[in-house]
Amino acid sequence: MATESGDPERFEDVDWDELGGLAVPRRTLAFVASLVAYALLLGYDYLLVAEDQPTIPVAGWNVTAVDWLFLLTLLAIVFYGVVPLVVNRRLTVHYWHQFRKNRAAVVSLVYLLVIFVVGTVGTAFIEPPQLDTLAAYQPPVYSSVPADVPVSCAGEVVDGRCQGTWAHPFGTTGQGKDILKMVVFGMEVSMQVGLIATFITIVLATAVGTTAAYLGGYVDEVLMRYVDIQLTFPTFFLYLLLVYLFGGSLFLLILIFGLTGWGAIARLVRSEALQRSEEEFVRAAKGAGASTPYVIWRHLVPNVSNTVITAATLLIPSLILAEAALSFLGLGDPTVPSWGRVIADGRGDLSSAWWISTIPGFFLFFTILAFNFLGDALRDALDPRQEGGE
């Protein structure tokens, strides 16, 4: 060890020939280990558990394909989002100081964390909204509608107006589904769509962008020409066509979003990586004897991550919005309670039951707004051009 003799080891005393170990960071080891566990569980679910049987019988939770993807996404977020933030505390504090200046973004972050936790954890504890024609058209609490709107008023009827109750704080739909529950389940859908598709996008975009930039030549040419074509196709119409052709299950929708939407970010990553690979620290790493994968992984990827994170944060809301729009058009997954679908459901009853379309719309709006605020603040806080600023 370095401190055997009590004196610190000096570089000129190193015996280079005795060295030759392969240094793998602990975080990579832990991530690989969890990936192995994940793969085992996945295999168990698909090979041993019958399709209609719950994967985890105790909880009665039948893990769907979307859930599996979501788990993988969360795993990646923990290892490459949360862990680095904890480990590199100095940098985290530095970025936090930058970020904190934007109060709207801090509020947005809190809001989104709540949405995220309620959407992912909360759904495990509450019953999915049930069809209940008797409870149809209940107004939200603290509001009232003419008593003839609901089939039977759950609350009091005062002056011929049905009052909302805490039993259905946000009221109910025309099918008697509780809107609060719909909203909570809608959070799950939005989070899944936003996070999983973005995760797929990030992985693809970063891989393609850095590879194209670092290798250059024909690889670069072919990849970027492909991106050109992909970007020529207007995203929304690509979704429309693919949804029309392949059907609108949530799983497919997420895959379509994830597999077709990475072009713009890949371009960004490429140009950023090109700039970065010209910088002297990349030369210095090469000059130290580092290999190409090492340089890409240890220097290029972390340095484009700011760009990627910002772009991703701004991509999430557009995906959530796209999913909501498709659901609104009736092209989404009919089995999931998307916010867009609830908005569409309420359209016919606008004049009598305003809350059905309005309340999920507010959640949709605020979620998108929050992500946009967040992305904007992140861009400012992570702007590499400001990093050198003393």
């Binding site: 050109d228 074509i229 020529t232 196709f233 207007p234 995203t235 929304f236 119409f237 429309l240 066509l241 693919l242 029309y244 052709l245 392949f246 809301p317 919005l321 909501a324 729009a325 609104f328 058009l329 009736g330 092209l331 867009g340 908005i343 359209r347 606008l350 004049s351 305003w354 379309s357 309005t358 719309g361 949709l364 709006f365 998108i368 707004l369 946009n372 605020f373 904007d376």
Partner: protein
């Protein structure tokens, strides 16, 4: 320069070709819903599902070899033989010709208004950074970007049509184009469309202009004695137009196309978006393809224009590259 334009045109053509090919292949690998329905009907009616399918395929020319079907498909696309719409009982091209004027009616004013207003606000914001107006502008931008426009449309209808009754709830396609009634029923769609577009444009315009507000050459211009307006229009806007032209065409187009789709559905305008959605819901494949080609074509042309605009606006561009 001419060589560059020629090559860029060729590339647009190649891109279109590749996109069409991919679409063709997608159609090939996906099960044909209509055939399946016919087979199902035939089987239910006691006939042979197989025969029904064959009859259907012969009628559609689907029994020909893949290569022949592909070349036919390509020829048809380029000769505007876009097939027959079963649900509308008219050729697809005709259906599109019927619908597009309604899309233009609100689309053109929206593009014009949003471009001018968006860039103007963006520039003002950039040159008045950290003032109240800048914050207000930024807030408007965030609002416009974040609000789901189909929902926004519904809310506006609820307030202005249902509650206040200022505008009609239902769109009447039969009023004359240049009439007060038409203007009235177009106000809300244009408004929804411009909100989104203005927001996105002013954000870009502000960001691009900010790149130049602190540029050395702007300081030089100021040191030369140029006044604020001259600096803004000559020294900031002009160079900012270079990247802006890209965004204007590319992003604006995408945004307008998408938003218009939803707007037409919400407001019941019988334009291209509505036509497309109906085709999707009714499984009218020919019409779906036709109505999807239009925006794709517009996007390809938009891309082309954007690249050409770039070369015209930026003297630094290297025609040898790309």
């Amino acid at each position: 320069m001419y060589w560059y334009v020629a090559r860029r045109l060729a590339w647009a053509f190649v891109a279109t070709f590749i996109i069409l090919t991919i679409t063709f292949l997608l159609l090939e690998v996906t099960p044909d819903a209509q055939a399946a329905q016919l087979q199902f009907q035939a089987a239910q009616g006691g006939g042979s599902a197989e025969a029904a399918r064959e009859a259907y395929e012969t009628r559609r020319g689907l029994d020909a070899p893949l290569w022949e079907r592909y070349s036919n498909y390509m020829i048809n696309v380029f000769t505007l033989e876009w097939g027959w719409s079963d649900t509308r009982s008219q050729p697809v091209v005709e259906a599109i010709l019927d619908a597009y004027p309604y899309s233009l009616m609100y689309g053109i004013p929206a593009v014009l208004i949003s471009t001018v207003v968006g860039i103007a606000i963006g520039l003002y914001s950039a040159t008045h950074q950290y003032t109240l107006a800048d914050y207000a502008g930024t807030f408007v931008a965030f609002f416009g970007i974040s609000i789901p426009n189909f929902w926004f449309g519904i809310i506006l209808l609820l307030v202005f049509a249902v509650e206040l009754g200022w505008v009609p709830v239902l769109f009447d396609p039969n009023v004359p184009v240049f009439s007060v009634a038409n203007a009235k029923q177009l106000v809300l769609p244009v408004f929804v469309l411009t909100t989104a577009a203005i927001a996105s444009e002013m954000r870009y315009a502000r960001a691009e202009a900010l790149e130049y507000v602190n540029a050395e050459f702007v300081k030089t211009a100021k040191a030369k004695g140029a006044d604020g307006r001259r600096i803004l229009t000559r020294h900031i806007l002009r160079p900012a137009l270079v990247p802006l032209s890209t965004i204007l065409v590319g992003d604006l187009l995408g945004l307008i196309l998408t938003t218009s789709y939803l707007v037409e559905v919400v407001f019941g305008i019988p334009g291209l978006g509505r036509l497309s959605l109906d085709a999707i819901l009714n499984q009218d494949t020919a019409l779906v393809l036709g109505t999807t080609f239009i925006p794709v074509l517009i996007a390809v042309i938009g891309n082309l224009l954007q690249d050409l605009a770039y070369t015209i606006l930026d003297p630094r561009i290297d025609y040898g590259d790309r």
